[in-house]
């Protein structure tokens, strides 16, 4: 009953490349989100446009999408608007980098030395619970009315989610892997680089994802407190002018900013933490 097949198949059968080309064509079927996302968008927008009258919401409370688009269109044609966008992007981005960077450094430091964590963490939590908006005068005294106070606000708000995730992530490293490196004489910093950091990546990316959203929020809230430019200022201004459609146009722009940042972060994650993708089980 012995069966032997002596003809060795090539290890890359022609079928393989065929599959590749088929894949490229079937993108829409393999990634249905490519049409589902716009589809949902269209449904929501249409429902909003025509449903709004039915449920009796006033335009000055919730404008119709068509009005928002009108307003958005006008804004996009305005040089000032791009100035505001640029200012807020700058604040959010610089704040994000600072906040997230500080969280990464402090989180690393904290998670490596238990005693530092136990000592500092309560203060960090305590500080985070303080509504930063209430501290506005302090912020202004310390950081002035310029960009800095908004950058600080963005940094402070994006800091905490990142910190918690960094600490938790650095802790989540597999003990066996750490033991393995230890035996080969790895220093703390080598263990950190070779095991802890890679293991923490899913946590870190979650932190980045939350962080960028909060950095944008922070910049906007900072602008609420006292600013002469930026999308947050524009929000206040449109609201003050009873230009609710204009306000929603700004909100849409903020959303798009957040979305863009989110996709960039997820893209980087796929590149950097590739092994997590590859080890997934088929059909589970």
């Amino acid at each position: 009953m012995a069966t032997t097949n002596l003809v060795r198949k090539p290890s890359q059968p022609p079928a393989s490349s065929a599959v590749g080309s088929v894949r490229r064509r079937l993108d829409l079927r393999e990634k249905p989100q490519l049409w589902l996302v716009p589809a949902v968008f269209v449904v929501v927008v249409l429902g909003w446009e025509y449903g709004i009258a039915l449920i009796g919401v006033d335009e000055y409370v919730l404008p119709r999408p068509s009005q928002v688009v009108d307003s958005l269109w006008r804004q996009l044609g305005d040089d000032q608007f791009w100035g505001h966008l640029w200012v807020t992007s700058q604040e959010a981005l610089v704040g994000f980098v600072i906040g997230v960077g500080a969280a990464l450094l402090l989180g690393t430091f904290i998670s490596q030395i238990r005693i530092v964590e136990a000592t500092l963490m309560p203060y960090i939590v305590a500080f985070q619970t303080v509504p930063k908006v209430a501290l506005a005068p302090l912020f202004v005294v310390w950081f002035g009315f310029g960009l800095t106070s908004k950058v600080v606000m963005a940094a402070v708000i994006s800091f905490f989610p990142m910190l918690v995730n960094v600490i938790e992530g650095l802790r989540a490293a597999d003990a066996d892997r750490i033991q393995m490196l230890t035996v080969f004489g790895a220093s703390r910093s080598q263990i950190f680089r070779m095991v802890r950091l890679p293991s923490a990546l899913p946590f870190i990316f979650a932190g980045l994802d939350i962080g960028i959203v909060f950095a944008i929020l922070g910049a906007v809230v900072g602008e609420f407190i006292g600013a002469k430019e930026g999308l947050g200022y524009l929000l206040l201004q449109t609201n003050y002018n009873f230009d609710i459609a204009g306000m929603f146009a700004v909100l849409v722009v903020l959303s798009v900013m957040g979305l863009a940042a989110h996709f960039v972060i997820r893209l980087v994650q796929k590149r950097v933490a590739f092994w997590a993708e590859d080890t997934k089980v088929i059909g589970a």
Binding site: Y60, V61, Q80, I225, K228, Q237, N239, G246
Partner: protein, 351 residues
């Protein structure tokens, strides 16, 4: 703008100075920053005084007073109640001139409302901006003046300003609103009709915004502040005479007021808002030609304001007015050529 023909500007010995004007609000709108700052800047009134003036936005009167007291700003137009509160807490501030002299708060109802005055208020809901804002003590005082108990006979609901307040009134969540006149102008501009109730006499003479500065370097900067006030009052007069021109100037200095819209689209409405604001900051009657004695606050007005502020809970005792109120700059501040300003206002066309 020309120099000497518009009156006694800064003397030859005056030094160039930089001043930061703290706007006591997070937004820029058709109010003091337009009528005072933008006009004075654009027409060269500040330049004539050898002043370079810049603005910052502080989120409310308290923040603005903190800013001038700590030196982040030099001068602000802050709510007199808050100025008194600051003085009571030993915050080093000084009031140096009045700005808003007519009571800016007023009650409004839907046009078809049956409420006509204080007597109809029992059991009603009043929308205030927030319970921690000038609008709440105003509503309470209004109710009390009608002989009702504000704690029992009415309910105050925080509804904010703008769309939120308008919606609350329209949906019947509140029966009336207690906002400032300029906030109503914004609501009316969006096509919502309102009916206003008359304020009882008790509110006449209570002061709202006043120019305030930090007390610590007051003596050193006396002269600078006088020059600022003079430019400011000149601008007020100009704006009172020609609000539309003032508004156009406002757009030029603060293009962000437009928030992406065209001047023509907004001008009428904003001019209306600015006019509403100007009415509170100029004598209740008379024409701009008759206006004078800018910035004066009588002892009686201070007493009334102080009593009201105490009632509102912003201060608990009497404030040493001699320390707080320094009217000594006003004579110099009023020393300008009214006619020149009025003339310019009458013929102004935006360049």
């Amino acid at each position: 703008g020309g120099g000497a023909d518009e009156g006694a500007a800064a003397g030859d010995g005056a030094k160039e100075a930089k001043v930061t004007f703290a706007i006591a609000s997070a937004v820029i709108g058709p109010k003091e920053e337009v009528a005072v700052y933008a006009v004075a800047k654009e027409l060269g009134y500040f330049a004539e005084e050898k002043l370079t003036v810049d603005t910052i936005n502080a989120d409310g009167s308290v923040a603005a007073l903190q800013a001038v007291a700590s030196g982040s700003g030099d001068i602000t137009a802050a709510d007199s109640g808050s100025v008194l509160g600051a003085a009571e807490k030993n915050v080093p501030v000084k009031a140096i001139g009045g700005l808003v002299q007519n009571w800016p708060w007023v009650m409004a109802v839907k046009p078809d409302s049956t409420i006509t005055g204080g007597a109809d208020l029992r059991g009603k809901k009043i929308g205030v901006i927030s319970l921690a804002s000038g609008s709440a003590p105003y509503a309470r005082a209004y109710v009390k003046a009608a002989g009702l108990d504000p704690a029992k006979d009415v309910e105050l609901l925080p509804v904010g300003v703008g769309a939120q307040a308008a919606a609350a009134l329209k949906d019947g969540k509140v029966d009336m609103l207690a906002l400032y006149t300029q906030a109503y102008a914004v609501i009316e501009n969006s096509g919502i009709a309102l009916k206003y109730l008359a304020n009882p006499d008790i509110f006449t003479g209570i002061r709202s915004l006043s120019f305030s500065v930090g007390a610590r370097d007051f003596e050193a900067k006396r002269d600078v502040y006088e020059r600022f006030l003079r430019a400011a009052y000149k601008a007020m007069l100009f704006s009172a005479k020609n609000p539309e021109a003032a508004m156009r100037i406002g757009y030029k200095v603060f293009p962000q007021i437009l928030a992406g819209k065209a001047v023509d689209e907004r001008l009428a409405a904003d001019t209306k808002s600015l006019t509403a604001w100007l009415k509170t900051a100029t004598p209740a009657s008379g024409t701009p030609e008759q206006f004078g004695d800018w910035g004066a606050i009588s002892d009686q007005e201070w007493a009334k304001t102080q009593a009201y502020t105490k009632e509102a809970g912003q201060i608990t005792g009497d404030v040493d007015l001699k320390k707080l109120w320094d009217p000594s700059l006003l004579s110099g501040a009023n020393n300008f050529d009214k006619a020149a300003v009025l003339g310019k206002a009458a013929t102004y066309t935006a360049g």
